[in-house]
Amino acid sequence: MSRRGSSVAHEVAGLPEGILGHHFSSLARQNEAMRLGMWLFLATEILLFGGLFCGYAVYRFQFQLAFAECSRHLNLTAGTVNTLVLITSSLTVALAIHFARTNRQRAAVICLVLTILFALGFLGIKAIEYTEHFHERALPGKYYAFEAVKVPGSAMFYSLYFLMTGLHGLHVVIGMSVLAWILWRTVQGRYSSKYYTGLELGGLYWHLVDLIWIFLYPLLYLI
């Protein structure tokens, strides 16, 4: 007991207070448990989106023409720019973790601020696209009154489009809030080579948001 206690005390030395839970025998174990917990959560997120992708697969199979036609009426430039924005934000968050791990907190803070700005940029572009859809009345279900496409199934395309991009957009908002909170903790100097798991987990969430969009982009904009 005393040996364990001293080893823990040794590890925690120099860390901000309250990092290591009393029920973990070492920080390394706690980090591993935190990572595993985060990946379990990400797995449930993948299953959540998996349901929507499944719905998309079914209706795309049934209404191939409508889906192809509707996707050509989406703003391809906006979709492509948004893909690049999210990919770049994924890079900045990966770099933020890298900088925190190598004790360059200032660079980490700058990278996190850039990530949040990219997230806002993504939402801005998405808002412009949504505005276009509302003006064209390219809306889901019974509200669909888009003049340009009147093929059976086009309302279903827009239902899925709004559900998938809407749920993804909600994830962007949540991810952005999480990153803002992590940014605050980075400014306080809580993350360093000794401990950066919190930052790492926030980054994992953001990468998942990017992963989902990597599939949404070709399926919605490019079929």
Partner: protein, 138 residues
């Protein structure tokens, strides 16, 4: 299992320095992955604009999978993660694959009256008269 992790991350008694001996990639790696992701984005944009018919979906999904592998392995550090973490991720993908496979297999083998109104299979039978020129912009 956790005590024999390759990087020693999950070991019991560690010196503070040992905790982070998991080798951190150099920043060049992240930038290289980013360049690859941008390249693949333009590739999928370019191939998508060609409207290659049957192959379009296959190519788009192949590129999307390649991009995801890069993000998961490098950005999300799955390359250096413990086996348990990788297992969780792969399991979720397996279940999504099962869901997609059996659902699409069901829909694909239904007979016509069991499909939603106005939903024929295949593009040939699904063109109502008068919509032809409108549907084929190219």
């Amino acid at each position: 299992m956790s005590e024999s992790g390759p990087s020693g991350r999950a070991g019991v008694a560690l010196h503070p320095g040992d905790l982070h001996e998991e080798h951190e990639l150099s920043a060049i790696w992240y930038i290289a992955v980013w360049i690859a992701l941008v390249f693949f984005t333009f590739l999928t944009w370019f191939t998508g604009k060609q409207h290659l018919g049957t192959w379009a979906l296959f190519i788009a999904l192949a590129i999307a999978c390649t991009k995801s592998v890069l993000v998961a392995l490098i950005f999300m550090h799955l390359k250096d993660s413990s086996g348990m973490t990788r297992l969780v991720f792969v399991t979720s993908l397996v279940f999504v694959a099962l869901l997609l496979f059996f659902t699409v297999a069901d829909v694909a083998t239904r007979f016509r009256p069991a499909t939603p109104a106005g939903a024929p299979f295949g593009t040939e039978r699904s063109q109502p008269e008068g919509l032809l020129e409108h549907e084929m912009p190219e």
